[in-house]
Symmetry: D2
Subunit: 140 residues, 4 copies
């Protein structure tokens, strides 16, 4: 199964000691942070880095996040995050993520759903520049 | 809507500065940690504290987690986590969570699904003592 | 040895699973977050809650932090943070912290040094209201 | 000033959204985690990766950590961590760190002090293989 539209953006993450827990593996909430790393890299690869979005007065908030855990990652593992775009909704969009262990097996996967806000914190339609950038990228 | 079986266990959490992000609100992955606080309190209230489980060679791992975000929590807010049991599966169980802002409105809700492992990390059936403790509690 | 001026403010913290690492104990950087919890409680006890400071345009930043670790804290431990005021400098102040295990032995201790900033991020003298609140409290 | 012995090991860290706080900058405790990333890379560069140490029954614990903050790092910044060895003590060692902003200015610096433990958690002398690896590297 391969969720999402268009090419996957690849991020490399080295697991930190801080990210493990007393079971000796990555604490589950940290995968949600790894998704954020993937999303940040996706926006940059798609030509609209997220820091620039906020400078332009566009804020993306998370309205839903889900993760399914398959095989635990460990301290020192170099993980690959594959991030794909999940499409636009009227005032939002979604992303799909797969996190792979060094040997290529799936560690976790999930998705996040987002709303676009203006600088006053009100929901707004998808900015045209973002729509164009992501559409061009996912069609590539 | 009220997911879960039996009474809710209530946890109080004061939002830390460390848990906020540059949007001025609680970073979304931290709610998954708040769920863990609720789950820990649930196990203690149900008469089988999770630290004791691990001493008894029973480990609970998270196989799925999901959160839906409604209204952002802020630094200094005292949040209430309501945790309800979601029932057993053959080798696992689930929990439901609601996180309320100080004025009682819903900040976030979600659920986690778990597997029971033995101390060698193999899936195992639900320990009888856990089943009994949770069943008694949810029937109360 | 008892560093700091005046009474200690006491905070209770239950160690979260998320805060442990693969050595089975609290990851060392998390004690710096426990210090923050103590500092927040100190400001509230001294009559000038930190969230109010920021509303009043006064921001406290950390310019130095140090911790010495004595005995590891573990998942489920209820820790006591004792926070004492360390005095004012021209544009800053400091705090001292002791973190105690459930049996009263010292887990860690440390201190943080701070600068006061205005809402534009420029160093400023200690706000008179803060000075008065902390001075009254430490003399109590 | 350049603390530490021998060459600096360089680590690159991209600041995550999760690592910022409501002041819009990196939360101070996270620099202590950046130090850990630097230390991990130092051990790998010196020929004795820390994951291998733990497999060999050698555990390094932190007994002291300190950081001095100069200029705040922000979301998206690519930081450079420079880690230098601080020398051995009878049963421990230390490391020095400098964290640089993308333009090369100093964001923070600090040091950590460590003890070596055996797998039973007792202090032990510096393992000969570690001493040799680090001595060779710092003399390089």
């Amino acid at each position: 199964m391969q969720d999402g539209i268009g090419p996957a953006v690849e991020s490399l993450i080295r697991v930190r000691y801080a990210e493990t827990d007393k079971q000796g593996v990555v604490y589950h909430a940290n995968y949600i942070i790894y998704f954020e790393v993937g999303r940040t890299d996706f926006c940059a690869s798609a030509g609209y880095p997220y820091p620039r979005m906020e400078e332009d007065g566009v804020f993306i908030v998370v309205v839903e996040a889900a993760a399914r855990y398959r095989k635990a990652a460990r301290y020192g593992d170099e993980l690959t995050v594959l991030t794909r775009f999940g499409g636009f909704r009227s005032r939002g969009c979604s992303f799909h993520y797969q996190i792979l262990l060094p040997d290529g097996t799936l560690s976790a996967e999930g998705e996040t759903h987002h709303l676009f806000l203006d600088s006053a914190g009100r929901p707004r339609t998808v900015p045209e520049a973002v729509r164009r950038a992501f559409a061009t990228f996912t069609a590539s």
